[in-house]
Amino acid sequence: MSAIFKREFKSYFTTPVGYIVLAAFYFFLGLYFYMIFSSGSPQIGNVIIAMTTVTVFIMPILTMRLMSDDRRQKVDQVLLTAPVKIWSIVLGKFFAAFSVYALAFAPTVFFEIIILSKVTVSVLPYLYALLGILLLGGALIAMGMFISSLTESPAISAILSLIINVLVLYMSSFTSMITVPEGSTTFFGKIWEKIVSGFMLFLEKAAFISVSESFSETIFSVMDIIYFLSIIAIFVFLSVRSLEKRRWS
């Protein structure tokens, strides 16, 4: 796993991808920090959570090549014929992308230090927001990695990831398009009512934007953490299966 991690991490910086991604993150971080701080709020947590949208749009660039490129250049042959387990290949790649992503939020440490030197505030909201954005990123990386494993083309992978990222981020806004049937008297009518309203609740609660916003509030929610962690686990697993499946087709 460490060999793959090292190679993938390095490759982000031997190509321009790593620099472009980090530059984009730093630009928006700086911008939001300036905007929020100059409006008088000492909460870096809000700066971080404001980065959710940016993350969703930049992440496909970080994950598009993760799996697809290996296949295109046939280097997957060296990985899959080496005495390593497939999940360690997948995890190595996941953590490489995740580390680059984590670097994007490194400057917030300085932001927090600047704030703390001026005013006395609790660091907890900052740490909680940081945890939230890292988990969100992890979930998006796992999803992007899986999508990347389905195709040989980084471009297709990027576009698909972008569409799916936007969908999961904003799926709560689709609830306004659905009308819940009410006042049904029949048995099946009532069941249908439950299904639709349950689905709407899912869209509302499971949308990444709602989950990530909850990290900007100071109420610690184990559910939200588990939600992102399980998305990571599911898509890492699916990526492993996707690599394995290739051997059989």
Partner: protein
């Protein structure tokens, strides 16, 4: 060392490998010979655990590739058809990566230095792989296969795209490695295989059509010694004239190749030299003998024919003697 039993591979409805069986002992150097698309690469990909089987079993040094993939893969160095290289890495960096990936136990620096020297790429070790020529890339891939000094080397067309000097270098290298490794090498060029392999497995349309040592195979395939003659004058007269010579088994005409003369394939009885008799007979009929030569088919041509006909017929050809190979000769002479 390598044990393959009842191996089949199906891609959708296409059966790429059909019931392949072979055994390779430790220290053997075996050539897979077959035209493009014969299934050589597929078999190699299965041996190395890159592809799964549809049916059948593969064991490497006693370890089944499906049940104990890591143990089996640890014993194999694989150079695929297209060397699996990261273009954005430097040569040294790439080999370091392969070293880490394979979890090799030898001391890192001397081991990689040795391999760099062995495949003669120490002069490019700090260059980006994407800037290397095809020949160098091939050798970097080769170096990758050698890392960890695995017992088994599986080399898929290792000399494709190289210049003649590089081909000889790689061949010599394989020859040297063959002394203490088990090697499977694939090629669609017969002379290539003959140069380095003692044993040849001919594969066509996913089936093994021959598995023998290369001398035997050459013997079997070129046993036949017919003569090709070009003689002036009338075809039918000459045919009967030639047929009446003692010790001649059969004569057939190839038709008019040059204006005023006809070509004939003459098959003498085994081991009898009939050239002088043919000359005398032609002269006695008042005609001119323009050409008389041995019609031994090159192994290349025979291989081509073998892989162009149906597999069942090819297997028969290998078993039977001269009769059917004559047919082969006539066709290939026209090329």
């Amino acid at each position: 060392m390598i044990n393959v039993a009842g191996l089949s591979k199906r891609y959708g409805t296409h059966l790429a490998v059909k019931d392949v069986n072979f055994n390779i002992e430790k220290g053997e150097v075996v050539g897979f010979l077959g035209p493009n698309g014969a299934g050589k690469s597929t078999i190699m990909n299965i041996l190395t655990g890159y592809l799964s089987t549809t049916q059948g079993e593969v064991t490497i040094d006693g370890f089944n590739i499906v049940d104990y993939p890591e143990e089996a893969k640890r014993r194999i160095g694989y150079l695929p058809e297209i060397p699996p290289l990261y273009p954005d890495m430097k040569v040294r960096e790439y080999l370091d990566f392969i070293y880490d990936l394979k979890k090799v136990k030898f001391p890192k620096k001397p081991h990689i230095d040795e391999i760099l020297k062995l495949v003669k790429i120490d002069n490019v070790q700090n260059r980006l792989i994407k800037n290397l020529s095809k020949g160098y890339r091939q050798r970097v891939g080769f170096a990758g296969a050698l890392i960890g000094n695995p017992d088994v080397l599986i080399l898929d067309e290792p000399t494709v795209g190289l210049d003649p000097k590089q081909i000889i270098e790689i061949r010599n290298l394989i020859g040297r490695l063959g002394k203490n490794h088990t090697i499977i090498l694939s090629s669609h060029i017969l002379s290539e295989i003959q140069a380095v392999c003692k044993r040849v497995i001919i594969i066509n349309r996913g089936e093994i059509i021959a598995d023998d040592n290369s001398e035997n195979l050459a013997q079997k395939l070129s046993d036949d010694s017919t003569l090709l003659a070009r003689i002036t004058g009338n075809e039918t007269d000459m045919l009967s004239a030639l047929k009446s010579i003692k010790n001649i088994k059969s004569v057939s005409s190839l038709g008019q190749m040059e204006i005023g003369s006809f070509d004939y394939i003459i098959e003498p009885e085994d081991g009898v030299d009939v050239r002088a008799d043919i000359f005398d007979r032609v002269v006695s009929r008042g005609k001119k003998l323009l050409t008389l030569k041995d019609n031994k088919l090159s192994l290349e041509q025979i291989f081509l024919r073998l892989t162009e006909v149906e597999n069942d017929k090819a297997k028969q050809l290998l078993k039977s003697d001269n009769g059917e190979i004559t047919v082969v000769i006539e066709e290939s002479e026209e090329e």
